[in-house]
Symmetry: C2
Subunit: 492 residues, 2 copies
């Protein structure tokens, strides 16, 4: 059944559309201040690859405006841009940003990217989480096309991209929202910078500059799963790869069992490899195990069925189905070389100490606005690049349902503390993590599929914990009430 969904509780989505600009609509007339831009960036803001002048067309207006402001304020230094930006008034900067943002972006410029070594492709796609490094595309979207306020990488001059990463490494460009880019750049070697710039960029190739700040290589403690590049090229490896594909793109590759916009990898970072982010290898070796949640010994396959039913708000794939066999094969393969132990270091999320003050929703809302909304959207609705969900929705009809583990404030707080913002795990205070977890879990989401009789009965039976907001009244709304199934029967 389709749950009844509430009216929007804020109107941020239209605002976001404004910020992002409306690519496809060409502004009839360039504002006078744009003339100096056009000299280098081109009449259509298309940029010039050879000298490394970036494309402006179709970039987020908000992003362009912030860059002009940074040049004007001296936080970003460039001998051409600084005087030009300073010559503009604040209003002119806004006009120019809006103008170029509204110009149409060239279609699929990234397709011209040269063939690159698999390890750069892997770095661009999935990052290098052994050093806490997210993949570029995890925020910039598939092929680096850009997502919302996050600018595109594909089709920009390679040398421009390299220069920006070097600028972040040298502290010559503002650290960017949530400090993400400064943090990311600090983990890249000079060779990484050039390789990534050439991977996404066009025009003359970037060459490695002098090693600015060689990244501190993280010392791996505990188990390290094998690199994905070593999945064997045989019949077994084929199924392992299917499992990986389902894990990363669950809706696309297991559509019959997915009921929302999430993918396994949203909670199990780095393709299920990352210690402290419920790594799949540790989970695989923790089952069969008794679970209080359903009162019997669960195999790993049954445990995964639970993920589909609750976290994916979908249906349990049958035992022995290709979906579960592929996921199990991938999990088993990831565990290669690990010790069989239900409590391997790195399992689950690191336990978070109780907060100094009781978690507070109002404080959590502020944390959310400051540290989460940039990626997950002001209404927690996530963000897409075209049809591809880049950032997952955290509540609402396309998120996990009330039966999911993430619906426990304690679980969510532990996850957030260790892993959020993406690539900056550990940067929030414990209190912030608790507050924002409470805020997230105080929103309506799909019904618990174990629903019986009423929200009150369901709460008593399955949510009788101070860590569950199900059945609690928040701002006059009884959480769980919005999607009570007609007739009061269970949903699935």
């Amino acid at each position: 059944m389709i749950p009844r969904w509430p009216r929007r509780r804020c109107l941020a989505a239209p605002l976001l559309a404004l910020l992002v600009g409306a690519p496809g609509l060409v502004a009839a007339q360039a504002p006078p201040a744009a003339a100096s831009c056009i000299a280098c960036h081109g009449a259509q803001g298309e940029g010039q690859a050879a000298p490394g002048y970036p494309r402006l067309a179709g970039l987020p207006a908000d992003y362009l405006q912030r860059q002009l402001q940074a040049y004007a304020g001296g936080m970003r230094a460039n001998p051409i841009m600084t005087p030009l930006a300073r010559a503009m008034s604040a209003a002119e900067r806004d006009q120019v940003a809006a103008y170029f943002s509204a110009l149409p972006a060239p279609a699929r410029a990234a397709s011209a990217a040269p063939v690159v070594a698999a390890d750069v492709a892997e770095l661009a796609l999935r990052g290098r989480w052994s050093e806490g490094l997210p993949g570029c595309m995890q925020c910039h979207g598939p092929q680096g096309v850009g997502v919302g306020a996050i600018p595109p990488l594909s089709g920009q001059p390679a040398r421009y991209l390299a220069a920006q990463l070097q600028a972040w490494q040298g502290g010559k460009r503002p650290p960017g929202p949530l400090g993400l880019m400064a943090s990311v750049a600090a983990r890249l070697s000079a060779a990484d910078v050039a390789a990534l710039a050439n991977h996404f960029g066009t025009g003359p190739r970037a060459v490695p500059g002098p090693a600015a700040v060689e990244p501190a290589r993280a010392v791996a403690t505990g188990f390290v799963p094998p690199p994905l590049s070593t999945i064997p090229d045989n019949e077994f490896g084929k199924v392992v790869r299917q499992g990986l594909a389902i894990f990363e793109h669950t809706g696309t590759n297991a559509p019959a069992f997915s009921g929302n916009a999430l993918a396994c990898v949203n909670c199990h970072l780095d393709a299920g490899r990352l210690a402290g982010a419920s790594p799949l290898w540790a989970a695989y070796l923790a089952y069969p195990a008794y679970r209080a949640k359903n009162g019997h010994v669960n195999t790993f396959e049954e445990r995964m069925q639970g993920c589909f039913r609750f976290s994916m708000n979908g249906k349990a794939p049958p035992l022995g189905s290709p979906t579960l066999v592929a996921l199990q094969s991938y999990a088993y393969w990831l565990a290669s070389g690990a010790r069989v132990d239900p409590n391997l270091p790195g399992r689950g999320y690191p336990k978070l100490a109780k907060p100094a003050s009781a978690p507070d929703r109002a404080r959590g809302e502020k944390v959310f606005a400051a540290d989460c909304a940039f990626c997950h959207g002001p209404e927690g609705q996530g963000q897409q690049a075209g049809a591809v969900q880049v950032f997952p929705p955290l509540w609402g009809p396309r998120s996990f349902n009330w039966g999911a583990g993430m619906g426990s404030v304690a679980n969510a707080a532990a996850f957030v503390k260790a892993n959020m913002p993406l690539g900056r795990g550990g940067s929030l205070s414990d209190q912030d993590a608790w507050d924002v977890a409470l805020f997230m879990d105080s929103h309506e989401r799909p019904q618990d599929p174990r629903f019986v009789d009423s929200v009150a009965v369901t709460r008593q039976r399955f949510h009788d914990s101070p860590m569950s907001m199900y059945g609690r009244r928040v701002d006059g709304v009884l959480l769980g009430e919005q999607s009570v199934p007609a007739g009061g029967s269970t949903v699935h």
Copy 2:
């Protein structure tokens, strides 16, 4: 369906019954030579616990006859028995043996055994396979009641039992059939001897003698599974124990899925713990894996379904059924601490080199008679103690079917070489192992459940290997033909 079964190909079973004697029938008259026996062993051959005179009543006639012969010949030394045995003619010894064998054995004498420490009970039941030591009850039957030609332990004087083990240790008693008892005794410490004697025996307690030959403690190489005594006392442990119970007594604890007289433990020795005997922990960590046998990636659960279908000649328990969950839980628990690796040292059976001469059935028949029939019976039919199957049938309607892995001569030879006779693995030559494996697999057994159309078609499809005797003609019999299902359809 019930397969059509062949007329017996030899008539050894009635002979065996003669050898074992017919307990329950009391001989009317004691032969004159028995008078000297009765003085110590009692009028009913019941023995005397205090002085340590063993019970003779109901013991295998063959066994008694061999002991008298050993005393007479000086291979077994005793100041009372030696002159008495020498005073008898060979015919008198046979009469005396037959007489006492036919006397009724006391019912359940073992029930009076004192409560003993768990580790002695474990040694008596399952042995200490880390030192190659089988459990006493693996040959002497449940509670040591005796099986066929193998004498009872329960109810014999504890001091008598201890004295016999010490005699084997000191080379003062013939090593027994296949040299098993000499081999077993050599692995027992002085404390083991006393503890086992007291476990099974009655009367005054045996005390540890001077440490005769302290057993060479095997140095464990590779993975050693946790002792069964450490299965946790919780909800998970309960299911692990269910798995163990199914593994050891499959017919009793998984009757819906068992189709013959075998148990998992018959091929996976030491409760699935023993390296080189297809240990369960290594198998658990080898799946999911691609199997050529069915052309796809199999989970461990599906692999176990194959065991039930073929080796157990039964039905595959459904995925997620309590039977498979319990077995999987037991396997996972056994693997605790192992490294995840599909090729752990100890997996399967050690590969056996090709034989110097092509395997030969006639030679194999001689090996079987000399080294296998004592336990498995002259017709490979196994042996029972009451309702309990102590030694598994190797062919015929109560054994594994044509689809089982043991139906491959190469597999069977590797198993036999490494593990047979029980507790004397490695003692046969490679050639003997190949020959006897061919002999075993050249007998009729239940149909391959994948049967299609005809034996010839089924051979072509599933047995197209020089290692399978299915569909070959042996002594004029087409193997597989005896249990062709009516109508030519598949059996299951």
